[in-house]
Symmetry: C2
Subunit: 203 residues, 2 copies
């Protein structure tokens, strides 16, 4: 079974407040259809590279494909308004190198992908520290930010500072919790802080 | 072994003559780095969907993931200025559902990714008919067009008209010929004629 867990990219999609909107322009020549798309590096389903929060060398095109692709565990946290270390520790996490979190935000995307989810679910700093200490390579979530409000940057810097890849804006409503193979394919934007990605789960 | 066979996307990269150039704009807010990218649907390593040459429903976001991911065969045709049916028929193709062609264009990308390869290698109509009749699901090549000059559209319409996915602009210089698993992940651009893709080969 293969799941496409990617939000469709369109000018109508919700983006992070203040981020550039998606635009599409059709440049057809005769019977040949070509289009031009403008989008932010954090539009829709996307990867945050370390450079999102630091001036270092960790750009999105330099991320290790072997971290982007491989076994992952998907947890379903339907009733959690904010992901804490305690909420994570209620689940078996030993040996997990890629962790994906399905929250109520996935239901929001299924119902209203064009509306920004004001009540999105993110991690608090205790959850970020737990995942850093577990030594995961990648953390994914359905919300457009892995960090719960108030966003101080602490969750991002805790994780990105440990070279943990962040995957945000996943569409997980149709996927039961369990173990899968993650295929995370960010656009190879040279020198960028992040990139929209196409993401599949197999298992 | 996993190969990243994707051209890096940057404002300096070569694009098809007449296609929109790639632009990147940095929109940093304090210590947070965000960027805005504009690019054509056929920039760099990319997928052509049937809609590229028809008004039908075959948009890039509707392509079957099971056609984009799976076993493939890579042929190396270093001395072929134009891929004909005879050039393909010199290789074993029985049972191949995804075929990738490494030509001298891959060497060009390794040497000069910012220069459009005027002498790029493409298929002639006889090769397109052969692949259509073989029933492949996907054909990939390193050149930005699968069709050799003079481009009349016949190669594209022969293949796209049979719902064969085209994958163009691959960076194959480092990959020996043989059998691999293709992971082809086009951006999920809603209603689009094609999309930039991140592509890996495993094997």
């Amino acid at each position: 079974m293969r799941y496409d867990v990617t939000l469709a990219i369109s000018p109508a999609m919700a983006v992070w407040p203040g981020d550039p909107p998606v635009t599409a322009e059709h440049l057809d020549v005769g019977t040949v259809r070509v289009s031009r798309w403008c989008l932010g590096s954090h539009a829709g389903t996307h990867v945050d590279a370390p450079r999102h929060f630091s001036a270092g060398p960790g750009t999105v095109d330099a991320l290790d494909p072997d971290a982007l692709i491989g076994p992952c565990r998907l947890l379903h946290l339907p009733d959690v308004p904010r992901v804490t270390a305690a909420a994570l520790a209620a689940h078996p996490l030993a040996g997990v190198s890629r962790l994906l979190l399905r929250t109520r935000t996935s239901e929001h995307w299924r119902r209203a992908p064009h509306v920004f989810p004001e009540d999105f679910v993110g991690l608090d700093p205790s959850a970020a520290r737990l995942l850093r200490d577990l030594g995961v390579q990648l953390v994914g979530i359905d919300s457009l930010s892995i960090e719960a409000p108030p966003i101080t940057g602490e969750v991002h810097t805790t994780l990105l500072g440990a070279n943990i890849i962040l995957l945000e804006g996943l569409a997980l409503a149709a996927v039961p919790p369990g173990d899968y193979t993650l295929l995370c394919a960010p656009l190879k934007l040279q020198g960028a802080d992040g990139a929209p990605a196409r993401v599949f789960l197999e298992g």
